[in-house]
């Protein structure tokens, strides 16, 4: 694939053509600036803050550290695609009701990290939650409200499964 070629990315179940882009661009940049999917946020661009977290083939990764053109054969999922009808997920609802959103910049990455955690571990303990969110930095909340929001989701999902 050379710099003049277009390439296609599979994002949230749809094919997106990337055109007129430098082929070395990060997936984060391509999502936001080329494809109009600004849900993933760009803050540190070095994998430290987690605000650009997306799923690639089911793994939660920092999209700023993925060369977009290397992801042509992968299934990419962004926060825009969590609920296909655009409604809020239980994690997003819980972030709102528990006051886990202040400036909101870290929220999409944290919501993705929480979904990823709960997909693999339905009843994580406090340590597992902290470990799973250790790659996402929030400078507003002090994390207490975020952990509270996660606890609410765990409890409500457990209730629903009863």
């Amino acid at each position: 694939m050379s710099s003049n070629e277009f390439y296609n990315l599979q994002i949230n179940g749809q094919t997106h053509a990337v055109k007129d882009a430098w082929i070395g661009e990060s997936l984060l940049y391509v999502l936001r600036e080329r494809l109009g999917l600004p849900g993933a946020k760009g803050a540190c661009e070095q994998g430290e803050c987690g605000s650009c977290t997306v799923f690639i083939d089911g793994k939660a990764v920092c999209s700023c550290l993925v060369m977009a053109a290397s992801a042509v054969e992968s299934e990419i999922a962004t926060i825009e695609g969590l609920n296909s009808d655009g409604s809020l997920t239980d994690v997003q609802e819980s972030f709102i009701t528990e006051g886990a959103v202040q400036c909101g910049f870290c929220t999409p990455g944290l919501v993705m990290a929480v979904h990823h955690l709960l997909e693999h571990n339905q009843e994580p303990d406090e340590h597992e939650i902290k470990e799973a969110l250790s790659g996402n930095i929030c400078r507003c909340t002090g994390y207490g409200r975020i952990f509270a929001a996660v606890d609410v989701v765990i409890a409500s999902r457990a209730e629903a499964n009863r």
Binding site: K59, V66, M67, S70
Partner: protein, 280 residues
């Protein structure tokens, strides 16, 4: 610029032979930082994520060895069979970045970048890992002691691809410790791997020299005491062990720490690892 995506090792080495200025990309956790900050503008990239030979790992009990492919993510080393076979590597893997980084980063990347702060490298040095390199001419296997030649320098040729490492299965206690300014998302200020293998102690240090430092003198001194990982040792002996390891460290002052602090940190890390390994 081109981005090539080979689907087999043969295809990958062929592409590399035909593209002399290619950058090899696995998890991207080092390279994309440089690209994002315009410190690197790669002309051609070969992305190795779809090469199945690099994403395999195996534990072979008949030869008592573990093979870990160059693109196996750290997340796979943290738990399960690999963590049982190589507890120090699991401990080192758990200190890498964050879950997002550990889902992408790999030994191939750590070896390719070859930073003295590479978290897995002290384990590979202590365990005498064999590094597998492939080119169109075939395979070359290099012991870790001959692989890293300087800070961010290694003996991998521009026509070669790091395909994986072979290590012996652990047969004694082994551990890894790292000092940094916080727990998550931290580049090490000093790190140490200690392994009891075949009743001999092996020690390697990270972030305290231009390369990963094997403490051969300290190992020899301790092994001459005829201890084993079952022996309980005195505090004085552990302290002397730490002191000797710190003497072998060759740290510098830089933006992350000072040489003096790093020497002190190594003396404490080595002492603690010896105590942990002998008081089980």
């Amino acid at each position: 610029m081109t981005v090539l995506i080979p689907h087999s090792l043969n295809e990958a080495v062929q592409m590399l032979a035909e593209t002399s200025d290619a950058h090899l990309l696995t998890g991207g956790t080092d390279m994309m930082v440089e690209v994002n900050f315009n410190h690197r503008r790669p002309s051609n990239v070969i992305s190795l994520g779809r090469v199945p030979e690099l994403s395999r790992w195996s534990v072979d009990t008949s030869t008592q060895t573990v093979f870990i492919g160059a693109s196996v993510p750290y997340a796979d080393m943290e738990h399960g069979e690999l963590a049982v076979a190589l507890p120090a590597l699991a401990a080192a893997a758990r200190t890498v970045g964050s879950p997002q980084i550990r889902a992408a980063g790999s030994l191939g990347g750590n070896l390719g970048t070859c930073s003295p702060a590479g978290d897995s490298l002290p384990v590979l040095a202590a365990m005498n890992a064999a590094i597998h390199l492939h080119s169109v001419e075939g395979e070359r296997i290099v012991p870790f002691s001959d692989f890293m030649t300087g800070p961010k320098k290694n003996s991998c040729g521009s026509h070669e691809i790091i395909t994986g490492v072979t290590l012996p299965i652990s047969n004694g206690w082994q551990g890894y410790s790292k000092v940094g300014v916080r727990n998550a998302m931290v580049i090490s200020v000093a790190s140490c791997c200690l392994a009891w293998q075949d009743n001999m102690v092996l020690v390697a240090l990270g972030s305290v020299g231009p390369i990963i430092i094997r403490c051969y003198d300290t190992e020899q001194w301790l092994n001459a005491q005829k201890l084993s990982s079952q022996t309980s040792i005195t505090t004085e002996l552990a302290q002397e062990f730490g002191r000797r390891a710190a003497i072998e460290a060759r740290p510098i002052d830089d933006h992350r720490s000072t040489a003096e602090y790093r020497k002190h940190a190594i003396s404490v890390l080595a002492k603690r690892l010896l105590q942990r390994g002998t008081q089980q």
